[in-house]
């Protein structure tokens, strides 16, 4: 029995341990928004968030996710989804769950990604070739991202090192 938190809810999944996370979600929990593409971790259609990180789940044994927090497209609530409609990104839509999961993770990490950031992150394949609109969608979503919370007040601890380092660099 594998224990997972999926989209905020605790689940126990009774499958063989080598079952890829993708199929455990699709076939055991009925979460079919995530798609099967290549089956060898190349195309990214199967991307989910595992503890906040985008992972390709068609090759990830569910046992490797035991105890983890999983977010699927069904649990995604992110400005990038609205931007995807604003920019009319999808065509057939089959790869877009995976594209959105990566794009959301990118924007959560880098609030204003450059085209280079986008190229480095967005390696999912799209047979309709919506790549230009994916790029536009990410930039549009960037403008919609909520202001990051102010950083917590640093605990002041006077070690004296800060001054010393500052002087050393100059």
């Amino acid at each position: 029995m594998i224990k997972l938190t999926v989209n905020g809810e605790a689940h126990e999944v009774d499958v063989e341990q080598d079952t890829p996370l993708l199929w455990a979600m699709r076939e055991n929990l009925g979460l079919k928004g995530t798609k099967f593409g290549c089956g060898i971790g190349m195309c990214g259609a199967c991307t989910m968030h595992l503890n906040g990180q985008p992972v390709r789940t068609c090759i990830l044994p569910v046992v490797a996710a035991d105890g983890a927090e999983v977010t699927t497209i069904e649990g995604l609530d992110h400005p990038v989804q609205e931007a995807w409609i604003d920019e009319q990104v999808p065509q057939c839509g089959y790869c877009q769950s995976g594209q959105l999961m990566v794009a959301a993770a990118l924007l959560d990490k880098i609030r204003e990604p450059s085209d280079t950031d986008i190229d480095q992150w967005m390696t999912n394949l799209c047979r309709c070739a919506t790549y230009d609109r994916i790029r536009a969608g990410i930039h549009a979503a960037s403008a919609k991202m909520p202001e990051p919370p102010p950083p917590p007040e640093p605990e002041v601890e006077d070690t004296g090192l800060e001054d010393a380092e500052g002087e050393g660099e100059e």
Binding site: W23, L31, F36, E74, L76, I85, Q88, Q91
Partner: protein, 334 residues
Amino acid sequence: MINLSRRAMLGSSAGLVLAFSLPGCGHTLPAIDDTINLGDVLAEGEVANLNAWLRIAPNGVTTIRMGASEMGQGVFTSLPMLLAEELDADWSLVRAESAPANKAYRRPNVDYPGEAQGTGGSLSVRGYWNPLREAGAKARAMLVEAASIRFGVEASACSISKGVVTAGEQSATFGELASDAALLSPPSKVSLKKKSERSLMGTSPARLDLPPKVDGSAIFGIDVDMPDLLIATIKSCPHHGGTLVSFDDTKAREVPGVEDVFQVDEAVVVVADTFWHAKKALGLVEIVWDAGKWADLDDAKIGAMLNEAIGDGKTVWKTGKVGETDIEATYEVP
């Protein structure tokens, strides 16, 4: 063209439908499968069964059933536009959904064997061009007639804009008129708008199929489920013209959920309870192939064979003047 069964259905239900038959389509349709949910198609208080392209809910949501498949080419937007233009609908209330399999929804300008709901050849808009526009115009006429009766005026005194019928001081929405209109007979002949009279066609509205494609709710073929559905996976000879010599399915049959492993032509098939079990088991079938006479065929060899067949070739197109610089390029298809 109202039939008794539809009257009975309308009488027995709280919801409202606007129904009409197309010529030659006077048969009963199967119940609509409401698992295909595009946005808020199933609005409150609505009954979903009728016998053609269109239904209008009390809240004005206008749902158009599409015989063509939306595969990213945009027909779930372009085809509803054809109908909505002639209907003078409020586009913001228009929804599209897949029609059930029925010849009422066939593409009329293509001779498939038998009668098929096919999508292909870049022919959806051309094929549904007249049926959908006529469907919209006929529905519009029925709504106008219903309004004229309600308002006590001539139909010619009514005008429609964005799903609202107006005559003088009186007005009613499509949603308010739909139940009355559904009991009227559609006109046998309607005139369609001239190009200069169109306001929706020729524009580029947002696609109707996108909302379910950004939240994971869109249903693709792989997502379809049925009670006791089994999944088959198949592996055919990786060489063109090759054959299956033998296979050992001992390990494959040890995978839980596997129902059967068998040969079909030059391929091995596994049937199991889930996709994963069928996929995993197929990978465990030990197969001996005879690659056949094309075993060593690759792109380079195919290219060489094609070039040899072409020989010196021939000039198929010549235009312009030859300048001082020669530009040479080779294009290959496929």
